[in-house]
Amino acid sequence: MSTRTAERAAPPAARRRSPLGFLRGRSLHIYTWLVIAWLLLPICVMILFGFNDTQSRYNTKWQGFTFKWYGELFAIDELTTALINSLLIALLTMLIAGTLGTLIGLALGRYRFRGAGPLNLVMFAAIACAEIVMGASLLSMFVTLSAPLGFWTILIAHVMFSVSFVAVTVRARVLTLDPALEEAARDLGAGPLTTFRLVTFPMIFPGVMAGSLLAFALSIDDFVITNFTAGGTVTFPLWIWGSTRVGTPPQVNVMGTLIFAVGVLLAIGLRLIARRRAA
């Protein structure tokens, strides 16, 4: 018996010594780190070149470390205006698409009604539709309606393509809710509005938050649809695209870095809140 257990214990030790064995035990770790590196490398380059003390118009060659661009963040007026436009549109999109999408998600998750099937289909069509197609058709629609292109047409377009994402996220959350929770609230004397405020909304809040942030993220960096519907209005992505031909200034990297940082902080914050709620 004892000799057999000794024999069984031997192979792992032998495996550890061979180089192939080393890979076998850690292949998942190595693969994971490769994926992370692949995802993070472009972001690292963006952050790094925000600190580049570039002298030329092109910010592509490392020429030394500086904080200069953080100091001169708002030195380019057009870029600042574009960033403000983008932030404003993204915030409004988040609020409007967040509200509308929450209501659609609630209806689809909670009730059976005539038209629920087609609504699902239209929502998934909006998600699956190629942006270039959607942008082109929005443009022809606005032109047909002779709506002046600009801030408001961008906003309408952004709400339109992001509302489905919010609705789908909220619906998924609603489907996991026990319908008895709302009945219990009603049973305990809460009217429909109070039930929504005290029970339904707090319960679906994580879904609403996730969907709204998704709408914000989709809106702030949208290029294709915005390009079709912008008219003379310039947003952050549109300005960067325009600048690539003459040289992108490091301020763009700095703004990108700051937007990324806010996103990461939000994600961490939500994670912490979720963990505290679960505890």
Partner: protein
């Protein structure tokens, strides 16, 4: 209660003043994929103040729908719901003075135990100090004092169950509706909670309406039971009445174990009939009404009422013979399966009062006998 109120309600005056809940001709029909589903087919029910009342039946019998009609989650297709003599048909659930304990407990997961229990009082606008006092008092009753700040998820299944109970009872409702509240608990805890529920009900003196498919639970706790099947009440009575005098074959089969014997009427008297069973055996059974000779009659007798012997028991009015097909020793009792001379399978329970050997073994020919008053002809016995 003024007499004018009873004038427009068809219920008798006494019932209108005393009954906590009254259902009059309640029908509930659903439309499901274009087809009408008759969940409740006409129920008349009066539940007295302070009563522990059970709606018992298999799944799909309409018991949960009946309860949801009382709670106000479903509006009856026809009929009326009265609480304390007042017609509340059409009144939404949040304005009815009844509270419910849900099968899934439905505790609000984002609120603490205290907030869960205080929810109903706060909706009613009860003063803050009063809310705190009554919530604490109720948590004391359900033995959860000191757990106010916990979230429902941090509690065990039994504790969650008691929070749900406290959350409903703290509102001092006219009636408490319980929808299979013990279904999610394991056997030991369930039995403990049965006793606990009875204690709490006595303590608070509120009418309990208890929905269950577990006949043991219903028998153990209820003052009265309505046995439901297929949308109607098959029988309504005390646990003893329902067990000892099942009004229908369904009730006899659903409550406990029943032996069903089919024979033909040989003689029919004023309140007993003699039935010819098998080759030439006679069974006397109490009946209501007179039966034609030769008419087929089914009778039922409970397994624990049957006496099993190896020798003929003498001149009993009810005795038949059979062969033991199985002996199952269960500790407190032994179950015998006996094939009768007419080919029916009969179960007999005998208490193991002494440590003596089993009365019979497999293959033995035995005599089965019982007192006539312990057997009932199905469908002829009116509840006393």
């Amino acid at each position: 209660m003024p007499m004018t109120e009873t004038a427009d309600a068809p219920a008798p005056a006494a019932a209108a003043t005393l009954s906590a809940i009254e259902l009059i001709g309640v029908v509930k029909t659903y439309q499901s994929r274009g087809e009408a589903v008759h969940a409740v087919k006409g129920i008349d029910l009066t539940i007295a103040q302070g009563e522990f009342f059970s709606l018992l039946g298999p799944s799909g019998c309409g018991k949960t729908t009946t309860m949801r009609v009382i709670a106000g989650f479903e509006e009856p297709t026809a009929g009326e719901v009265c609480l304390q003599g007042k017609n509340v048909t059409g009144v939404p659930a949040n304005k009815r003075d009844v509270n419910m304990v849900f099968q899934s407990y439905a505790l609000f997961p984002h609120m603490s135990v205290f907030e869960n229990v205080a929810f109903g009082l706060r909706r009613k606008g009860v003063e803050k100090a009063e809310v705190t006092r009554r919530t604490a008092e109720m948590l004391e009753i359900v033995d959860l004092a000191g757990r106010e700040k916990r979230r429902p998820k941090q509690l065990s299944g039994g504790q969650q169950q008691r929070v749900a109970l406290a959350r409903a009872l703290v509102n001092r409702p006219r009636a408490l509706l319980l929808d299979e509240p013990l279904g999610a608990l394991d056997l030991k805890l369930r039995q403990a909670m049965q006793v606990e529920l009875k204690r709490i009900q006595r303590e608070v003196g509120i009418t309990f309406v208890y929905v269950t498919h577990d006949q043991g639970e219903a028998l153990a706790m209820s003052d009265r039971i309505a046995v439901m099947n297929d949308g109607v009440i098959e029988q309504l009575g005390s646990p003893r009445e329902i067990y000892e005098h099942p009004a229908s074959k369904f009730v006899a089969g659903f409550i406990g174990t029943s032996n069903l014997l089919t024979g033909t009427v040989a003689e029919s008297g004023a309140d007993t009939a003699v039935i010819r069973y098998g080759a030439d055996e006679r069974i006397t059974v109490p009946v209501r009404g007179v039966f034609a000779e030769g008419a087929e009659l089914e009778l039922t007798v409970r397994p624990e009422k049957i006496d099993l012997r190896l020798e003929a028991p003498g001149n009993g009015a009810c005795q038949i013979t059979g062969t033991v097909t199985e002996v199952v020793y269960l500790g407190t009792s032994t179950n015998y399966n006996v094939r009768t001379s007419a080919g029916a399978d009969v179960v007999v329970f005998t208490q193991n009062a002494s440590s003596a050997d089993d009365i019979a073994v497999r293959g033995d020919s035995v005599w089965l006998s019982w007192e006539p008053e312990h057997s009932y002809a199905i469908g002829t016995e009116a509840a006393p």
